[in-house]
Assembly symmetry: D3
Homo-oligomer: 135 residues x 6
C-alpha cells in the first residue's frame, strides 16, 4: 500500500498534469506509471525528477539501453523491487534480450561478491590505480 495516493489524471493538479503530458510526449505512449502518479503529490518534486531523468537517461555519450542496464544494476544492488520491474521493462523495450538480462545479473552478482571480498580483506589500492587523473 502506497504511503501517498496514486493520483489519476483528474486528481493531479495542473502542474502535475503538464508533467504527465510531457512524459507521454517524450515516451510516445499514453501510459504514465505509478512512480510519477505518486510523485504528483508534490508537483515541484515531480517536475524536478522528470526533468533530471529526461536529461540523464536520454541520448548522450552512453547508449540509452546501456543506461537502462546500469539503472537495473543499481536497483538490484539496492533491492528496489519497483525499480527492478520498471527498468527491466524499459531495458527490454529498448532491445535487451533474455540472454543479456541473465548476463547483466551475473555481472551484478559478481561485483557484489568481490566488493565484499575487497572490503573484508581490506585490500590496499594499488599505486597503479591512483595515477594522476589529469594525466
Amino acid at each position: 500500500m502506497s504511503i501517498m495516493p496514486v493520483l489519476s489524471d483528474e486528481e493531479a493538479g495542473a502542474a502535475a498534469r503538464a508533467v504527465f503530458d510531457d512524459i507521454r510526449d517524450t515516451r510516445q505512449t499514453d501510459f504514465v506509471n505509478n512512480f510519477w502518479r505518486v510523485l504528483a503529490n508534490d508537483p515541484a518534486l515531480l517536475a524536478r525528477t522528470w526533468d533530471k531523468l529526461k536529461a540523464v537517461m536520454g541520448p548522450g555519450s552512453i547508449d540509452p539501453l546501456v543506461k537502462e542496464m546500469i539503472y537495473v544494476a543499481v536497483s538490484v544492488t539496492n533491492g528496489c523491487q519497483y525499480c527492478i520491474h520498471s527498468h527491466t521493462a524499459a531495458a527490454r523495450a529498448k532491445g535487451m534480450t533474455d540472454q543479456q538480462l541473465m548476463e547483466l545479473m551475473a555481472v551484478v552478482g559478481a561485483a557484489n561478491e568481490t566488493n565484499r571480498l575487497v572490503n573484508g580483506l581490506q585490500v590496499p589500492v594499488d599505486e597503479a590505480f591512483l595515477s594522476d587523473p589529469k594525466a
Copy 2:
C-alpha cells in the same frame, strides 16, 4: 592495512602462482593487482574467483566495456573504494572517456535517488510491469 598479507609471487604457493600466470596471460600484462595477491592466501578461493570473473566479464552478449561500467555502478552504490579505482581503470583501459565516466556517475546517482523515492513512498508496481515473463 590489509587483514591478510599481500603475497608476492615468491610468497604465493604454486597453486596461487598458476592463477597469477593465467591472469597475466589473459590480460596480456605482467601486472597482478593486490586483490588477487590477497586472495592468494586461500588458493581455492583465488582460483574460483578468477575463473568466475574470467567467465562473467569476458565476451558475451554484453560488450566488455559495458560490463565494466556495470561493475563500476555496483561498486559506487556499495561504496567500495578499491573496486571503484580498479574497475574505473579497467573501463578506461577498454575505452571509457571522461565524458562517459561522468555520464555513468549521473545515471548511478539518479538511480540511487529514485530507488529511495520509490522505497519511501512505497509505490505499488504497475500491472503493466508484471506481465508473464515467458510471453
Copy 3:
C-alpha cells in the same frame, strides 16, 4: 510470513507482557504492534530493544517529530518496508504533514544521489571539514 510467531498477549510470557504493558502505558494506547509481538519470542531482546527506543526516541535535545523523520530517512535508505510504514505513521501521529513527508523524501533522495556522486568520483575531503573536533 513471519519467521517467528506474532505472539498475542496470551501467548507471550509474563516478562514479555510486562513490556507490552509499558508500551501501552508510555504510548497511551492499547495497541501493541507486530514488531514487539515478534520480538516477544525473546523477552530479553524485547525488553532491551524497548528500553533503548524509549530512551533514544523520547524527549531530548532533538524534537521527537524530528527523530521520527530521521528514523524514516534511515528506513527508506535501507528499504525496510515495515519500518517505513510504522515510523511514517508515528511521524504523522506527531504532526508531520503530507507536505513535510514529500519534502523529507526529496531530502532522502538527494542525499542518496550525492552520496554516490561523491563515492563514484572519490572526492577528497576538504581540509576545512577536518578541523579539530574539540576546537
Copy 4:
C-alpha cells in the same frame, strides 16, 4: 585520490564558474568545496545537482537544520565519509550542538538496528499502518 581532477576556478569552464558564483552568493562565503569542483568536470551535471540541492535544502516546510540532520542520517547509513564530514559541518554551521549530534547518531544507530530485526524476523506490516493514505 579523486577519479577526476578537482578543478580550480581557473581550470573550470565558464559554465562551471557561473555555478561556483551562485554557490558563493547563496552561501555568502568564498569557499567552494571539492564536491562541486569535481562535478565541474561535467558542467551540466554540476548545474543540475546544485539547482536541485538549492531547491531541496532551502527553506520549506521542514527546517533547514533538520534537513541537514536528515542528510547526515542518510550519509551515515550509507557510510559516505565525505558526506558525513561536509553535512555535519553544515549542520553545525546551522546550529547543531554536540549533544544533538550524539543524539542524532543514537537515532540513526537504533533505526539501523531495528530495520534488521524487522528484516530478519520478517515482521508482517500491521493493518493499522496500511489505512487509506488519502483518508
Copy 5:
C-alpha cells in the same frame, strides 16, 4: 512475479537438469527450490553458482550450520526476503534452535547499529588493530 520464468524439470534444458540432479543428490531430497529454477534460464550461470555454493557451504574449517547463520546475517543486512527464508530454513534443517535464531538476530541488529555509530562519528582505527597481518 519473477523477471524470468521458474522452469520445471521439463522446461529446463539438459544442462540445467544435470545441475538439478546434482542438487538432489547432494542434498538427498527431491526438492529443487525456485532460485535454481530461475537461474536455469542461463545454464552456465546456474552451474557456476551451484558449484560455488557447494564448495563454499560444504564442510571446511567452519561448521556448516555456522556458515548458514553467516549467510542469514548477510541476507538480513541486505534485506533479501527470499534469502532470509531459504537460509533460515536451511539453518533450521541443520539444527538451529529458535533461541539461536533470536540470538543471531540480536547480534546482526547490534552490528548494524554499531557499524553506523562508528561511521557517523568517524572513529579512527586503533593502532592495536593494525598490527602486521603476517606477524
Copy 6:
C-alpha cells in the same frame, strides 16, 4: 579525523570512566579502544551501547567466536572499516584461524552475490519455506 574527540581517561567524565572500568574488567585488559572513547562524549549512549554488547556478545546459545564471525560478516557487508578491523581482531583473539577467516569471507562474498541474483530475478519464495513458524 573523528567527528567528536577521542576522550582519554582524564577527559572522560565519571560516568564514562565507570563504563571504561567495566570494559577493562570484563575483557581482562587495560586497553579501551577508540569506539568507546568517542562514545564517551555521550555517557548515556556509551553505557547503553556497552550494556547491550555485553549482553548480546557474551555466552548464550551461540558460541562467542561464532558471534564475532557474524559481526564481521555484517561489518564486511556494510563496508565498515573500523568494525572489520576491531571484530576481526576480536575473532582472532577468540581463536579464529587464517583459514577460517578466508572461509568466512568466501561465505560473505557468496551470500552477497546470491542476494543480488535473487533480487534481480525477483525469485518467488517457495511455499516450502513459508510453513507455519509455530509448527
